[in-house]
Amino acid sequence: MRVQKMENRKEHMESPFKMPDGYLSALENAVGERIAAEDKQGFKAVLKPALILACTFGLIFGMGYGVLSLTGTLKEDSAPQESIAIIDEGLIDSHFIDFYEETAFLAEEDAIDENFVINYLENEATDTDLPEIYAQLQ
């Protein structure tokens, strides 16, 4: 009785299920198909967000351009034309050159000719000027 009971228990501990015939071949094919599909999807999964992003930027740019075109904001106004004319005339160039020349002139003025000073002291400076100049030099 006890042995019979143990045998019954052992029997029930075994799985009552069996794998259907040809199941592994079918599983192999099904898994293979899903792997192939996932590989394709993997490529799409990378490409798709990039395409969506590019399309979104394109759309936003297009909409912005459309709105600006409709409201006339993109029409050429007179102010930029004037600026272009000023540049074309070479005003900026001439300003730059003028400034350069002025600087050069000022630099020249700083250098005092020695002969000029000697001549001045000899001929034009009076007796009263000389003590003043001397005092300043001291």
Partner: protein, 177 residues
């Protein structure tokens, strides 16, 4: 071909061929384990496919620290637990008659007591069902189950005890009717 040779074949670039060898070698054992948890063949088939797809995705990172079957068993068990959790919600709206389903199933070879056991098993929460299946049918040591489910041994013992008590009560009621 042993695990080492299969892994060598996989690493040599024959990935699909090596993977098919894994399916051939361990498919049946894994099917019976999963089928015991899902009871229904179609559900077991879904879990098997998902398990092998996950295994394929993780295959490059498999370092061979455990043997391939233990690794597959872990993936399969967790996949099936997740499947059963989702199915539990579905079954609230459309419950399955296990006894009627098994009676028509040619891949089920059990008597009335087995049907009662399967029906009692189907009443368990997914995790308890997994613990019971691994312990009762696969006769797996608690330490191994703990490694697979990531739960402590004492918690597993308690879980098995609860499952066993629930099932015993349910079967006694079922056979008493």
């Amino acid at each position: 071909m042993d695990d080492k040779q299969i892994l060598e074949l996989y690493n040599s670039g024959e990935k699909r061929q090596a993977f098919n060898l894994i399916i051939r070698k361990y498919g049946e054992r894994l099917y019976l384990h999963i089928r015991q948890m899902t009871i229904c063949h179609d559900d077991a088939n879904d879990c098997m496919q998902n398990t092998f797809i996950r295994a394929w995705q993780a295959m490059d990172n498999f370092r061979g620290e455990s043997n391939i079957y233990t690794w597959l068993y872990r993936i399969g068990t967790n996949e099936t637990i997740n499947f059963l959790r989702k199915q539990k919600i579905k079954n609230v709206f459309s419950p399955i008659d296990i006894a009627a389903h098994l009676a028509d199933d040619p891949s089920f070879n059990g008597d009335k007591a087995q049907i009662a056991l399967q029906e009692a098993l189907s009443k368990l929460p997914p995790r308890q069902k997994a613990v019971f299946t691994m312990r009762y049918y696969d006769e797996m040591p608690y330490e191994k189950i703990s490694e697979i489910l990531g739960t402590s041994v004492s918690s597993l013992k308690a879980s098995y005890h609860f499952a066993y008590t629930k099932m015993k009560k349910w079967i006694l009621n079922y056979l008493g009717d």
